[in-house]
Symmetry: C2
Subunit: 218 residues, 2 copies
């Protein structure tokens, strides 16, 4: 019996590569590469900082990763463009099916659980059309422990006030879905990019190509 | 006053992409891609397992990553070829300048410190021409904590029996050199691929394009 549907934000509900459009306007022909590198470094930096015990909030890491991506691609990043791109992160687009699926499931407890710091994830959810369906937004920043550490999922569980097995957790990120399953949540991997399964000895309970599939857990 | 010169193994002394040759023989035209993906997943898997508190030794992770790389690239991996490629990891080539530099510094305490499990790193060092110069091989597997955690570098320090500031640590891997500097070692980043510096608020003490540069610490 599932009592809480918990969604990762970046890549799962919101398309992080929608910043690619602004990247392309600022850096013609290099926008996609910069956008990909930005996301890749963002992930790498929060993994590394967690491992090195040098926590830094997600907004600062996102800014650091943007600076790296620009340097790597040999472009200058003006202060103005840095702010413009950081602001783009507060207005990411929802994936196409998200609004209708969440509307349909809106009698359930719907929760966003993200590594994003409160100053990034709150405005993002608030400006989106799903805001009215989301009961709670939980940030790993509240305990300064990033997913996929067990401590992060445990923090979400404590905030939810349900049992571990009453949670269905959704993410598009393989590392996140593996971490959540390892912790003991029910998991549905939203495999938007048709990736092959990870070789981490832990498999999600369900795999769907988009969020529509989770209706069968209802 | 530096008393111990501590070298990372994979990518620093030994060229992990020398397995690319065997990959190319087994999978014509796809060998380079598989070799790159193999290394990328190997790193990702030990980061993730450390974060998820699901430690597994490096040899098993390396095998898992190879399986992922083959699936990702749409090729079948026979048992025979799996063994052949895993064995290639025990015979990686040294980078060109390594032997002469280590020979020149051989009156110092020269140590290899690797995330590799003992059954991978020991045979690799033993079959190489630098074996006679290496006083000790330290594996993160001894405490089941991977670099770049502080616990891993601390383990090396305890094995070395010198002071933290008497260590010069060399790695080509940015995450490793950042972790080592964060822990408090002197560091020389062997930046073989001319990468741009990471945006992690921590910079190595020296940067060289290959190991030759470390002679100035003598």
């Amino acid at each position: 019996m599932i009592k809480a549907l918990v969604f990762d934000a970046y890549g799962t509900l919101f398309d992080v590569h929608s910043v690619g459009k602004e990247c392309n306007e600022i850096f013609p022909n290099k926008g996609d590469e910069i956008s990909q590198s930005w996301r890749k470094k963002q992930l790498e930096y929060f993994f590394l900082r967690q491992l090195m015990e040098r926590y830094k909030p997600f907004d600062e890491i996102t800014r650091d990763a943007l600076n790296y991506a620009c340097k790597e691609n040999g472009v200058e990043l003006s202060e103005e463009n840095e702010e413009r791109l950081m602001n783009a992160y507060l207005k990411l687009e929802l994936f196409e099916e998200v609004e209708s699926v969440l509307k349909e499931l809106s009698e359930k407890k719907l929760v966003v659980f993200s590594n994003g710091s409160v100053n990034m994830i709150d405005p993002l959810v608030e400006q989106s059309s799903i805001n009215e369906y989301i009961g709670e937004v939980i940030s790993a920043d509240e305990i300064k422990q990033y997913k996929p550490t067990p401590a992060a999922y445990n923090h979400a569980l404590e905030r939810l006030d349900v049992k571990r097995e009453e949670v269905l957790f959704m993410s598009s990120n393989p590392w996140d879905i593996t971490g959540a399953k390892s912790f003991g949540f029910n998991t549905a991997w939203i495999n938007r990019k048709e990736l092959v399964a990870e070789e981490l000895d832990i498999q999600p309970d369900s795999v769907y190509s988009d969020l529509s599939g989770i209706r069968e857990w209802n």
